[in-house]
């Protein structure tokens, strides 16, 4: 499927899904998108994003308060406008006096602003008029009258409520908790009354609840209220706009998500109001108080218990001190906390539940429970059950729980090894118990109820654990080392190299001291520290440690074939990085022999060795052989470990790298996208490995000449990698090189040269001046220089690149084709086609030998050679070559792509010249 077609298909599915109810979308996509799982995944992601977009871009970039708004004075029917007392999105509210014979009283007049006729707002305004006309309740502001201004704008005349917003009133009057509850229950009564009249207010907040000097609450502003059809859901059309207009802090999760809104939404808003009246703080921790943060918190964060919120660490918005809060309630902070803890915590949290059906069934039920509380009767609200909380905990802290599980598995291994060793059993058992209880203790703190609702991440759990291990376990060095190792490994797996390094190095040091230099555990620690070095682009250091470990493992009594195979594979990766795939391949072959001895024909170490070997063969340019091995390894691993295994993913990566080398970009793209989906699920967001996958995705896009998309991905990937790994990292260098390639594709050669120069500098630092990676940077830098018309600069760079590659891989390696070709092109540019021809021909031969016939590079090379031959006057040969190349270019890049146009230009030039030559011959 082409990109455009793909985009349209996603459009179609997205639009169709939107028309369905949220609950039905998954089923719809499962059927409609069955044939294209990657499209389906994309649509699902868009829908997920759409659901939590909030007001993103909804408010225009340049829009402030209404410009048309202006003060109006003068008569309006029997009313005289006195002054403006408020304004909102819909219009302006004036203080007015009705002064005819019958009445003399002050009222509030709300006039719709002009220019809204026929709009949604206009209809909503009229709807409010109808709604209010139906309501008669002592705690709801009355509607007296309505009409139209001389210029046709509708207006409402309402009871003038002179009072303070409820929160301010309570604080000014220093109402006690009991008094506040009393007032709040009367507000519930008003809301309940509206609900009974089939109205949902949808914007309950202190500003809409004024309290008169007599202490009577008045509910105002039914401007975005919704009528509930009896027994039905009401019109959905107003729902989303309703959200846009309402105050986010008081919105319920379903309102934020734009889902169907029922009376339960008002119950939720009442819960927020109650929370604030009781403790003077928001239910959620909002570091910066940004709108999208609020919306995310409403949908995802568990509200903190009110009794804990009083002493909450201050966020971005300045909050009054606990003492001031307590004083406003006529009490002291400690007493207030005691008053709230228990029943009131439970009542508030029940009103604030995320799922509408788990809240109080009505505003009346909420008021009733508060009445029970005031009468010291048991309340209906109960804290969430342990099982429910555990489920939520796992859902919320998925990454954290995974990390905890990982550490537990590793520690279980440690315990088993203690038992197997069977020495001093009683003492070991004590140790084991100690380690276990220590762990359980650490992870117990991940429970939000132990952390006062803090959001714990995997990182925080690990950091907590690491801190405690190094502080508290000094007297138990073997337990300490095992836990440092376990936590360090998880850190390393999460890409947190700075955290992992001291732990793993610490474990190594402790083990050496306690167990002596010859223990298996020491070798294992050596492997881990070597892995850290590798991550830091220190391949030489990594290699040294691995060789030490290997020697140690080989000396150990007993058979440690799997251990040896692992170290050999790790060593192979390191050696390959240093630019010697052949030597690395030999190491993997040794690993394979050891693995098979231990596991037989199939096993995780066998398949890992196969995959590693395949990569080395790929690097040596034998793509078909590499593909066969990889396929074998992948099949085995998927069978053994399932799809969602880190090793499987890593090897799938090897597979699509191979596809890229073979020029099969669309296939590679599909595979990267699939891998991304899985990886995202496993490692969670924020993992630097995801950045690497985005880089891989961009590589496949570059291959398809989708440059702008690729560039954007590279830049984002680069930023993430730099944060995770620092500037001087092999992955950063690689991504820079790739970005440079894309810029070349877009003919932005100046920028490309700058980027390649950066990459070159990093690579020289990491690999030394003769590493094959250095050769790649040199090659691309040379390309850019040539395009910039600097053949004098380009030529030596290309030569240098070729020399390095030949030195590393031998003269027949397909990669040498690229610098060879470039040398030919530069010579041709310089007007030396005779010198250029053998280079271009040699490049074509090298390529043809290694890549499949459909590789676009092959066609591109033919065109280059053809134009050189044309320069030499060998027009017939030249024409044949271009004609050979054209169809492939057309299918690969599309009929109007630059490569095709270039080739056509070359062809027509050749044909013209042939015609002329033929004519001349006649």
């Amino acid at each position: 499927m082409g990109e455009a077609e793909r985009w349209r298909e996603v459009d179609r599915l997205f639009a169709a899904a939107l028309e369905r109810h949220t609950a039905e979308r998954a089923a719809f996509l499962a059927t409609a998108g069955a044939s294209h799982p990657e499209l389906r995944a994309e649509v699902e992601r868009l829908l997920a994003v759409d659901a939590r977009l909030g007001s993103f871009l909804e408010r225009p970039a340049v829009a402030g308060a209404d410009l048309e708004e202006r003060d109006e004075r003068g008569p309006l029917g029997p009313y005289r406008l006195l002054r403006r007392i408020g304004g909102g999105g819909m219009g302006t509210v004036y203080l007015a006096r009705r002064d005819d014979e019958q009445y003399d009283r002050l009222v509030a007049v709300k006039i719709l602003r002009s220019g809204l006729e026929g709009t949604e707002i206009y209809h909503r305004f009229l709807a409010e008029r109808q709604i209010l006309a139906r309501l008669e309740h002592p705690h709801i502001a009355r509607l007296y009258d309505g009409g139209s201004t001389p210029d046709g704008r509708p207006y409402l005349v309402m009871e003038l409520v002179e009072g303070l917003p409820v929160d301010i009133y309570c604080d000014r009057q220093r109402l006690s908790v009991d008094q506040r509850l009393d007032l709040f229950r009367r507000i519930c009564g008003a809301v309940q009354y509206a609900h009974q009249n089939l109205l949902v207010h949808r914007d309950i907040k202190p500003l809409n609840i004024l309290v008169t000097p007599e202490g009577e609450p008045k509910l105002l502003d039914f401007g975005i209220a919704k009528q509930l059809a009896p027994g039905g859901e009401g019109s959905g059309a107003l729902t989303r706009t309703g959200l846009r207009m309402m105050t986010p802090s008081y919105a319920s999760p379903e309102q934020v998500r734009g889902e169907a809104v029922t009376t339960a939404a008002d119950v939720y808003s009442l819960g927020v109001l109650l929370y604030e009246l009781l403790v003077g703080r928001s239910p959620y921790r909002l570091p910066a108080g940004l709108p999208h943060e609020i919306e995310a918190a409403i949908c995802e964060q568990e509200p903190e218990r009110p009794s804990l919120a009083l002493f909450r660490a201050p966020g971005a918005a300045p909050e009054p001190a606990p003492e001031a809060m307590a004083a406003a309630r006529g009490t002291r902070p400690q007493a207030l906390v005691r008053r709230l803890a228990g029943d009131l915590d439970n009542v508030v949290l029940m009103a604030l539940r995320k799922e509408p059906q788990r809240r109080y069934s009505s505003a009346a039920a909420l008021a009733q429970d508060l009445a029970h509380h005031l009468q010291n009767l048991p309340v209906a609200a109960r804290p969430d059950t342990l099982a429910y909380r555990t489920r939520k905990l796992v859902r919320r802290h998925r990454a954290a729980v995974l990390a905890a599980a990982a550490v537990l598995v590793l520690v279980a291994g440690f315990l088993v090894s203690l038992i197997v060793q069977g020495r001093q059993l009683a003492r070991e058992r004590d140790k084991a118990n100690y380690a276990l209880s220590f762990l359980v203790d650490t992870f117990k703190q991940a429970d939000p109820f132990h952390t006062r609702g803090e959001h714990l991440t995997a990182q925080e759990i690990l950091d907590r654990g690491a801190g405690r291990v190094s502080r508290e376990l000094v007297g138990q060095p073997d337990v300490q080392a095992a836990l440092m190792d376990a936590i360090g490994r998880v850190d390393l797996g999460l890409g947190r190299i700075d955290r992992a390094e001291p732990l793993l190095a610490g474990a190594l040091a402790v083990r050496r001291r306690v167990l002596g230099a010859g223990a298996l555990e020491v070798a294992q620690s050596l492997d881990q520290v070597a892995a850290v070095r590798f991550q830091r682009s220190d391949f030489k250091g990594s290699e040294q440690l691995l060789r030490q470990s290997l020697a140690l493992k080989r000396r150990l009594p007993g058979d440690h074939a799997v251990e040896i195979a692992r170290t050999l594979n790790q060593l192979g990766e390191t050696v390959a990085r240093r630019g010697d795939p052949k030597a690395a391949g030999l190491l993997h072959r040794q690993a394979l022999v050891n693995a098979r001895r231990a596991e037989g024909r199939e096993g995780p170490t066998v398949s890992a060795s196969l995959a590693a070997l395949a990569r080395r063969i790929d690097e040596q340019g034998d793509y078909p052989a590499a593909e066969k091995l990889l396929q074998q390894s992948l099949d085995m691993e998927t069978r053994l470990l399932g799809e969602e295994n880190a090793d499987v993913i890593r090897h799938r990566r090897a597979y699509y790298e191979l596809l890229v080398h073979q020029g099969k970009y669309p296939e590679a793209e599909a595979m990267v996208r699939r891998t991304l989906e899985v990886e995202r699920r496993i490692v969670g967001e924020g993992h630097p490995e995801l950045a690497e996958l985005y880089n891989d995705l961009a590589v496949t896009l570059t291959g398809q000449r989708r440059f702008p998309e690729a560039e954007a991905l590279y830049r984002r990937s680069l930023a993430a990698m730099r944060t995770a790994y620092g500037d001087s990292d092999f992955r950063v260098a690689e991504a820079l090189g790739n970005l440079g390639g894309t810029l070349e594709g877009e003919e932005r050669y100046e920028e490309a040269a700058a980027v390649h120069a950066q990459s070159l500098e990093i690579r020289r630092r990491i690999y030394g001046p003769r590493g094959p990676e250095v050769a790649h940077s040199l090659l691309h830098l040379a390309k850019a220089r040539r395009q910039l018309g600097q053949p004098g600069l380009a030529f030596p760079l290309a030569r240098q690149s070729l020399t390095i590659l030949q030195g590393a891989f031998g003269p027949e390696h397909p990669l040498t084709a690229y610098p060879t070709q470039l040398i030919g092109l530069i010579l041709r540019d310089q007007g030396k086609p005779a010198d250029a021809e053998p280079h271009l021909r040699r490049a074509l031969t090298l390529l043809a030998r290694s890549v499949p016939p459909g590789h676009p590079q092959l066609a591109l090379s033919k065109v280059e050679l053809a134009s050189c031959l044309a320069d030499l006057g060998r027009l017939e040969e030249a024409e044949a070559l271009v004609r050979e190349a054209l169809p492939l270019l057309g299918t690969r890049f599309g009929p109007d792509s630059p490569p095709v146009k270039d080739a056509q230009a070359t062809l027509s030039q050749i044909v013209r010249r042939r015609g002329r030559t033929a004519a001349g011959a006649k």
Binding site: E3, A4, W7, V10, D11, F14, A15, L18, R45, L46, L47, A48, V49, D50, L53, F56, L57, R59, P60, A61, V62, A63, G64, A65, D66, L67, E69, T119, R680, E685, G686, H687, P688, L690, A691, Y694, P708, E709, A712, R716, S717, A719, A720
Partner: protein, 190 residues
């Protein structure tokens, strides 16, 4: 630049020639800026710029001025939306480089751009993503320009693009979701 050339440029631009847009740009830019600063100066606190109003007025003023006609009102809106985007994004780009002086021209569209930055903290990234969207789906990009930069409502946008409001609504949601997704840092992508 004679009026004939302006008309010509506008025509070629409406046929998709970006270079033409670059060349009429200063003319319209000055006009927009002029209107914007006057409005800002007139209004008291709490009253800031509204893009739609500015664009409407600019259209009225430029229409027929100097004897040239915009191909249509819709064209002008698309053009102005694009221009506002350019102005805001350029401003965002240079914001940290140049300190804003308290000198003569204090009130410019650039000040409105500061407002815009509060709404969408990464205008530059948005601009890049939008450019990318243009290459994938020009109409969605146009919808975003008209809605976000020119401040048109869904209905107005539909009118200007000559499609139904439902279509615009759908396109807007997809575009918004896609853009939002693009703007997430790599690790934060949904």
């Amino acid at each position: 630049m004679t009026n004939g050339t302006i008309t010509k440029l506008l025509q070629t631009w409406s046929e998709g020639d970006q270079e033409a847009a670059e060349r009429v740009l200063p003319l319209v830019y000055d006009e927009l800026r002029h209107i914007a600063s006057r409005q800002l100066r007139q209004e008291r606190e709490g009253h800031t710029l509204q893009a739609t109003a500015v664009v409407h007025e600019a259209y009225l003023r430029l229409q027929g001025q100097g004897g040239f006609e915009w191909p249509s009102r819709a064209h002008f809106f698309a053009f102005a939306a694009h221009l506002i985007r350019r102005i805001l994004v350029d401003h965002a780009r240079h914001r940290n480089r140049a300190k804003r002086g308290g000198g003569l021209e204090r009130v410019t569209l650039a000040e409105a751009a500061d407002l815009a930055l509060e709404r969408c903290p990464d205008l530059v990234a948005l601009d890049e993503a939008l450019t990318c969207l243009e290459s994938l789906d020009p109409r969605k990009a146009a919808v975003v320009e008209l809605r976000f930069f020119a401040g048109l409502t869904l209905d107005e946008t539909a009118q200007h693009l000559g499609v139904s409001p439902e279509t615009v609504g759908r396109e807007w949601r997809r575009a918004r979701a896609w853009l939002y997704d693009q703007l997430q840092p790599v690790e934060g992508r949904a």
